[in-house]
């Protein structure tokens, strides 16, 4: 298999060498995916999907490492990969034909783009970053095997039915589902520098979600997920059942919770919430390619060696880490999508910026990759996050952190502080054209009162802010770590990541009110009916 890929790679490379412009680099990345998923709602199976696919992404570089077809030109991202489907059997005729035609297509697109880039360069000013387009990386020869996917379909169908049935007598839940996913991915990479690599991993996931509508029309949702390195490491039934019940409790409480009001003041972000906060407002801004794209905000480009976080905080990206605080991390890999071996990268040490995340696209002062060139099938590699870990030396117990919050509320003379227990997702704008801002969408937010009243859940609050100002306001952290696993979407598609952090006390955070749906809840109540499980007739 690898041999066929390698032979066709070199046959094409040799022949294309005689063409003008000639390629100087060619790579084939073949991705084998096998996935099964089971979805259930209200005790009934909604679907079971399973499939195997094999696709190839081809990369051709024409020109030279200083200037090639991957150069960013204003408003135009390079896109060559086509995720072409490949035979599931290792049949050489079919494999070779597909590779040959796809190489030709990619070569033509690459050659055309290089000519456009050179034309563009004649009419545009040079950017600040004078580094080239492709850095050196040592070739790798390695064949890892990935264990077969074991997904007991009947077992998971039954479990999904059972778990999802919990919502059957909860009329305020308008939509709910339990999804179980098992996936296996094997990547085979060959390039003209001699790399011959096979590696991969598995994914296992349980997602429980429920949605509803408050009386005033606001749409609300709650979810819990479990991620694991393979199916066997997913939690036991009791833990999942507890999570199902928790999803319901959260949604039911949210549906009855009072609305948030615009607020500025002190807050605690839980470890999970802080992880997302760091992923959004910090992680995306240290991705290497943003430092040389003239359309980017380049918040940190010229701040290496300078203090950007309080000195008690350090941040690392570690794709070699598989577990933290007893939780499987989702952002691990052995090699990135350019065949560069994974390694931990210390990004911020004691508050000082040390490093960026790098693919094989070099930037000023950072000439080689640190193994963070990642992508989804069909996309082009850019620098992406892996496992983000925030570490603190100013750490206290959660109880003490709460005491500090209450002290801060009193000091600032605020009616209350906020506790962000859970956030669902966020986005950040790094482009120069937009505001350099971020928004994080909290799910579970509580008012914390200084006078000892119990915390009060509120709904409809969004955290807003600008990155540099927000970092300066981190005052203290907890001494435990929690993990947020998920998929991160950016230019190179969806990639699995994680973000782990202690809880953070922030002296000032700004909250805005979320946009609300104006539409009425259903006219009629939910149908009252017996829940009877049955199969296909």
């Amino acid at each position: 298999m690898v041999q066929v890929l390698d032979e066709e790679l070199n046959r094409n490379f040799t022949a294309l060498k005689k063409a003008d412009p000639a390629p100087y680099f060619l790579s084939y990345e073949m991705i084998d995916t096998e996935a099964t998923s089971v979805t259930a709602t209200l005790g009934a199976l909604q679907n079971t999907n399973s499939g195997k696919s094999r696709n190839v992404d081809i990369s051709v570089r024409v020109g030279d490492a200083k200037l090639d077809n991957y150069r960013q030109i204003r408003g135009d991202r390079p896109q060559f990969a086509g995720a072409v489907s490949m035979p599931l059997d290792d049949e050489p005729n079919a494999l070779r034909r597909r590779l040959w035609l796809e190489t030709d297509r990619v070569y033509r697109t690459a050659a055309q783009r290089l000519i456009n880039i050179k034309t563009n360069q004649q009419v545009k000013l040079e950017g600040d970053d004078k580094s080239g387009d492709f850095s050196e990386a040592p070739p790798v020869t390695k064949f890892e095997t990935v264990a077969p996917l074991t997904f007991d379909r009947a077992k998971w169908q039954e479990k999904a039915r059972k778990w999802s049935a919990y919502f059957s007598d909860k009329p305020e839940v308008l939509a709910s589902s339990v999804v179980v996913v098992g996936q296996r991915e094997v990547k085979t990479l060959v390039n003209t520098e001699g790399t011959k690599l096979q590696h991969g991993r598995q994914f296992a996931r349980i997602l429980i979600s429920a949605r509803g509508k408050a009386e005033d029309g606001m749409n609300l949702s709650a979810s819990e997920t479990f991620e694991a390195e393979d199916m066997s490491r997913l939690p036991d039934d009791k833990a999942v059942q507890a999570a199902v019940e928790k999803v319901y409790r959260k949604l039911a409480a949210l549906l009855k919770a009072p609305l948030a009001e615009p607020y500025t003041g002190p807050a605690i972000l839980s470890g999970k919430a802080a992880g997302v906060f760091f992923h959004e407002i910090f992680g995306h801004r240290i991705e290497g390619h943003r430092q040389k794209d003239e359309t980017e905000g380049q918040t940190f480009t010229k701040m290496v060696g300078q203090k950007i976080l309080p000195d008690f905080l350090s941040v690392k990206m570690d794709p070699t880490l598989h577990r933290l605080a007893n939780i499987d991390l989702y952002g691990w890999y052995d090699f990135d999508d350019e065949g560069v071996v994974a390694r931990p990268v210390s990004v911020v040490k004691a508050g000082v910026l040390e490093n960026f995340l790098l693919s094989r696209s070099p930037i000023n002062g950072f000439p080689v990759s640190n193994g963070h060139g990642r992508k989804q099938l069909g996309a082009e590699v850019v620098a992406r996050q892996s496992n983000l870990v925030v570490e603190s030396t100013k750490a206290v117990s959660n109880a003490d952190l709460r005491k500090s919050l209450i002290a801060e509320i009193k000091k600032q003379n605020k009616p209350y502080g906020l506790y962000f227990e859970e956030v669902s997702s966020g986005f950040t704008i790094t482009s120069r054209r937009g505001m350099q801002a971020f928004a994080v969408n909290p799910v579970m937010v509580y008012k914390v009162f200084a006078d000892g009243r119990p915390d009060q859940l509120i709904r409809g609050a969004d955290i807003v802010g600008t990155p540099l100002a927000s970092f300066a306001k981190i005052a203290e952290t907890s001494n435990d770590v929690t993990v947020f696993n998920g998929y991160c979407g950016a230019e190179s598609g969806q990639v699995p990541v994680s973000a782990s952090s202690p809880a953070l006390l922030v002296s000032e955070i700004e909250v805005s009110l979320r946009e609300r749906s104006q539409e009425r809840p259903p006219f009629l109540g939910r149908p009252a009916g017996l829940t009877v499980s049955g199969g296909l007739n």
């Binding site: 046959r11 005729n93 749906s517």
Partner: protein, 575 residues
Amino acid sequence: MRRRDLVFLLPAAALAQSADPVLKAMQDEMARARQMSVVGGQPIFYIECTLDEAVAFRATASLGAMFSANASSYRVPRVSMRIGEPKFDNTNYMFSEVFMGTRFDPEQFPIDNNPAAMRQVYWLALDRAYKTALEAIGRKRAALRNITQAEELADFTTAAPVKMVLPVPNWAANEDAWKGRITRLSKIFAAYPEVYTSSVDYETSRDIYYFANNEGTELRYTELLAYVRVRANGQAPDGMRLRDHVTFVSNDVTKLPGEAEMEKTVRESADNLRALLKAPQGESYSGPVLFEATAAAQMFSDLIGSQAAVFRKPVMEPGRNVNLPISDLEGRLGSRVLPSSFTVVDDPTQKEYRGRTLLGHYPVDLEGVTPSPVVLVEKGTLKNYLATRVPTRDAKTSNGHARLPGSFGGYSAFASNLFVKSDETTPASEMKTKLIDMVKQRNKPYGMLVRKLDFPSTAGFDELRAMLGGVSGRVAALPLLVYRVYPDGREELVRGMRFRGLNARALKDIVAAGSDEAVFDYIGNAAPFSIVGGGNYVFGCTTVAPSVLFEDLELERPQIELPKLPVVPPPPLTA
């Protein structure tokens, strides 16, 4: 397929209680949904719930290798609601189906027959439908304050309720046998290095259609479909991309041709492509053109089958006109469209023709209307259109041809079994002689013979865009195999041609029909040329037609840029 047709016509509509759990869930929620009119203030006069339940197996092979093999099963629900009154309701308005709120009903329906879970879907879907309808009828009324309709037509017509709950036939996909067969068929192309890409697809499916409305109609019937589709592409020395394809289709998988016959046909197709790649480019031509029976059946499917329904134009917002497709046959009722010897009938009630199962048969249409045969053309004159329950100027009541979900709250009509016949036929063997006579008479160097059209088309998206672009009027399907016929009878294959002005208006120029007949089965959809993969809703069709000779037809060589040949020569093929 075992199927007993049990049709009861009900005198009055009482909300029934079906024994089928899916139909019962529909009926339970429809009964409840009526209460919404109390809260919403607008009377609901029509509700329907449907469910498409599909199980399918699909596989693709190329050059002796399996590319994909997937089994799938899913259920897709749909609901529809009409408020106001049949004379004027929420439909037939450009924003009839626009819903701005959050959707809570899932797009996929439970696979288990769990009553609570099934009713939940219809409850939320009908809630959404009612809110959509309320908004639509208000906006439609407002829009009509500022525009005057060319003519006022009712929005919906009556139809007799039908109860037809048929047993569901067993279905099994013999996955391994078919995987083996298509892998072997795909390997044939290993002997054709000039074929750049090739594939053999196999699909077999069972679709159960559930339908219930508040008029008492209750349906459960099954459609089976199986096909093998073979596609091959290559590039001529000047860069022109060429292709050929073959489809074997049946509503009974056991009636698909045997492997030996398929193998023969695939080889023919590979030989066709090989010949095309070496063939000269055609020159612009105007003169007599002969369509062999299969090509003629494809042409009639395209020019009449897909055009025989008139589309009801929705009420537009003032100043926001949207261009909607207009049938070539629109406004031509009572006019001559074919020579006076021709009759065209669309007959979904016919199951067999000369011992062959017809693909276009169905017991009842998607709206629950029992179909009737429709004489579209009589003695060359257009007499009728295919119709649904949405009236149009020239088709005020349904004739049971709602074959796919449509836009603006209604269904779309489409042909089923289309029979094109002529009273005056020329022996098939003399059709070519007739062509040659005309060529000689008019002193032309050659005439043209069309053996195969690209219908249903396998064009890619880019090719389709190129085909439809830069041409005024409706474009006809491309000829895949077209030959020059010289006065001495010699045939010469040419490539790169397309028709000019071949539309329903050109059919009057037919001067002869052969005594032969082709029975052409195909899978139709809403896209132009029923392009493969062009619609998520498909239906079986059959067209029966004789070979036909046109007195005058134009073929042209479009001026398009040709892609370059691959830089690297193709990899060698091993046996």
